[in-house]
């Protein structure tokens, strides 16, 4: 899953560096507050551990062996923020000194494996492990499935990034300039391997290490087990005032993106495949569809299934243009605010319903 240089266009690489930067910044700020002077040795040594774990050859069911990423273990032990930084550092060392993964694609690799992987692993682990005791087998299952989900989410991101290359970047003759396979090939090619071998390797490693730690060193599992029935102090991932301040860059980035949404009006035509049923019978729309489909003429009528399902649901703000707003830019902005508001509301409701926000500290997080 380590994407080498040359597979992604510089534009994609730049976008993913930009996408990863706020997470790195937020993680560093939060950890600096919690760990203070302990940050440097903890991250250094754990990044070294993450690097080594990627070299472990794991025996899988069926007699084969595979490599794991270690994202599940890192997240369960360190929490998502320290995990994403430690894995990013390990990935940088791999790219720089061991040629595993590219330099231009480092942002993409960190985004896929360190950031998406850590966050998915954390959410799945917390959801599945719930309030189970530290030594409960439910934690082993939760951790194993968190590792499995994390590596597959990372692989999905990588597959999408690779799969959009031939759609967006071609030379004058039409030859794909970077990864040559479209989504319909990239997605199954990437996901089959990860849903089977790589996913199982991650599942075996995460579940196995958590089971081992339950026997040998259960205190290492306390950080991400907030509601487990053992005493302790408040933890990292809970939203302390400092933690809230640490989220400020993400909120600022979200605000900036909201403010920039009217730029969407500048884009000409419609996105490929996002056609309305009526477009098939309009000459101008048909021309745009043919031009976007390498001069392949669309059918004379909307396909029957499309025509039938098109009217199934009418959006409250069709085309990002609420009917009561005359200015398109304002309509875009309102739609973006509405969409973000709904998402934030859903997460606040989930957060409110989530038991045990206060979680204990861990031996290595005490300063």
């Amino acid at each position: 899953m380590h994407i080498p240089d040359g597979y992604l266009s510089p534009a994609t690489c730049a976008a993913l560096y930009a996408g990863a930067a706020p997470f790195w910044y937020t993680a560093l700020r939060r950890l600096q507050r919690w760990l203070n002077t302990r940050l440097i040795p903890l991250l250094s040594v754990f990044a070294a551990f993450s690097f080594l774990v990627m070299m472990f050859n794991l025996p899988l069911p069926g007699g084969t062996t595979g490599h794991a990423l270690g994202v599940g273990v890192a997240t369960v032990v360190l929490g998502p923020w320290a995990s994403l930084l430690a894995l990013s550092i390990a990935l940088l060392i791999q790219a720089l000194f061991f040629g595993d993964g590219g330099i231009t694609t480092l942002g993409a690799n960190c985004f896929n494996m360190a950031i998406v992987g850590s966050l998915v692993a954390y959410v799945v682990y917390r959801l599945l492990a719930g309030q189970a005791a530290i030594t409960s087998s439910r934690r082993v299952v939760g951790a194993a499935l968190a590792g499995y989900a994390a590596i597959n989410a990372s692989a999905l991101c990588a597959a999408v990034e690779l799969g959009i290359q031939p759609l967006l970047f071609r030379d004058a003759s039409g030859a794909p300039l970077y990864a040559p396979y479209p989504l319909r090939i990239a997605l199954p090619a990437m996901m089959i391997g990860h849903l089977t071998f790589a996913g199982v390797a991650e599942l075996v490693l995460t579940g196995g290490v958590v089971a081992y730690l339950q026997r040998a060193n259960p205190s290492l599992l306390e950080l991400t087990a907030p509601a487990a029935p053992r005493g302790g102090a408040p933890d990292s991932a809970a939203l302390s005032p400092d933690a809230r301040r640490g989220l400020r860059p993400l909120w600022m980035a979200l605000g900036l993106l909201l403010a920039l949404t009217p730029l969407g009006i500048l884009a000409g035509g419609a996105a490929w495949g996002e056609w309305a049923a009526r477009d098939f019978s309009q000459a101008a729309a048909r021309e745009r569809m043919a031009a976007a489909s390498r001069n392949m003429a669309p059918p004379l009528q909307a396909p029957r299934g499309l025509a039938r399902l098109y009217s199934l649901w009418t959006a409250p703000f069709p085309g990002y243009a609420p009917s009561f707003v005359r200015q398109p830019a304002l309509g875009y902005l309102l739609s973006a605010m509405f969409g973000c508001g709904v998402i934030i509301l859903v997460f606040m409701l989930v957060g409110a319903a989530w038991p045990g926000r206060k979680i204990r500290g861990s031996p290595f997080y005490k300063t």
Partner: protein
């Protein structure tokens, strides 16, 4: 070979590569004589223009520049072939193999026997992928083979990477080598005690427990390192000694890198 031996082989391979790089970095060659910052910026510029180029001959030219740099830096082409060209060709070549047959475009021939159509666009696409990956990988490896690792990390400051990150990266690299040794000893001792053949579930338990032991050791090591840092007066501030000196030769080579990158960008558009 069982999983213990495979893991051992991976760990030893990584250590060998790290030590080989340190040996090569001490040789007297073109890249070794340059200020690490010049090398980093110059090689990074070439990697980026290789990614930007829309013409195969431009990427091929950049690959030629990489080979020329290797020869003048006394890096043997056999080392590059073994460490970069063959592995990259085998990995990316296999990935690119179906592209000539499944990419739509102008048909230039058919595969004898199977009759599959080969398209010009597919061939070009496979060529782009393999050439780009080989060129970028060769340039990146040259940077590491011709520069001591701690100099590479310090040179990252020129890219405005925070000092804190550079220090963490330096310590990570150092502890990778230490933990590699620990992991190797652990697997060696495990192998020396194994007389029979383990069943699947037992092998998985052993592998996961080994990772767990290494994790506990890592966190213990982190505490020890922290105590050692505190006992030496560490209060959270980090400084980096910058002993790099730029000479006229560095400026000349920077101009050469700049000219090559500009030409590749201009002709590769």
């Amino acid at each position: 070979m069982n999983f213990v031996e495979r893991t051992l082989s991976n760990l030893v391979g990584a250590m060998e590569r790290a030590f080989q790089a340190e040996e090569l970095a001490k040789r007297d060659g073109l890249l070794q004589r340059l200020d690490p910052r010049t090398k980093l910026v110059g090689i990074l510029a070439l990697v980026i223009v290789a990614a930007l180029a829309h013409r195969l001959w431009v990427i091929g030219g950049l690959f030629g520049v990489a080979v020329w740099l290797a020869v003048w830096s006394r890096v043997s082409l056999a080392t590059l072939a073994k460490r970069v060209w063959m592995p990259v060709f085998l990995f990316t070549g296999v990935i690119a193999l179906p592209a000539p047959f499944i990419t739509p475009g102008h048909e230039v021939g058919r595969l004898p026997g199977l009759g599959w159509a080969v398209t010009e666009q597919g061939l070009r696409s496979a060529g782009y992928l393999v050439a780009r990956v080989e060129t970028a990988a060769t340039l990146s490896v040259l940077l590491i083979l011709c520069t001591p690792w701690n100099h590479v990390l310090k040179a990252l400051r020129v890219l405005r990477l925070p000092v804190l990150f550079v220090v963490i990266l330096g310590m990570t690299y150092r502890y990778i080598l230490l933990l590699l040794q620990s992991a190797r000893d652990m697997f060696e001792s495990r192998r020396s005690r194994m007389v029979g053949r383990l069943e699947g579930p037992e092998r998985r338990r052993v592998a996961a427990s080994s990772a767990g032991v290494l994790l506990s050791k890592s966190l213990q090591l982190s505490s020890d390192v922290y105590s050692a840092m505190l006992s030496r007066g560490f209060r959270g501030e980090v400084y980096l000694l910058d002993e790099f000196r730029t000479t006229a030769w560095d400026w000349l080579m920077l101009a050469v890198f700049g000219a090559l990158a500009s030409a590749a960008w201009y002709f590769g558009r």
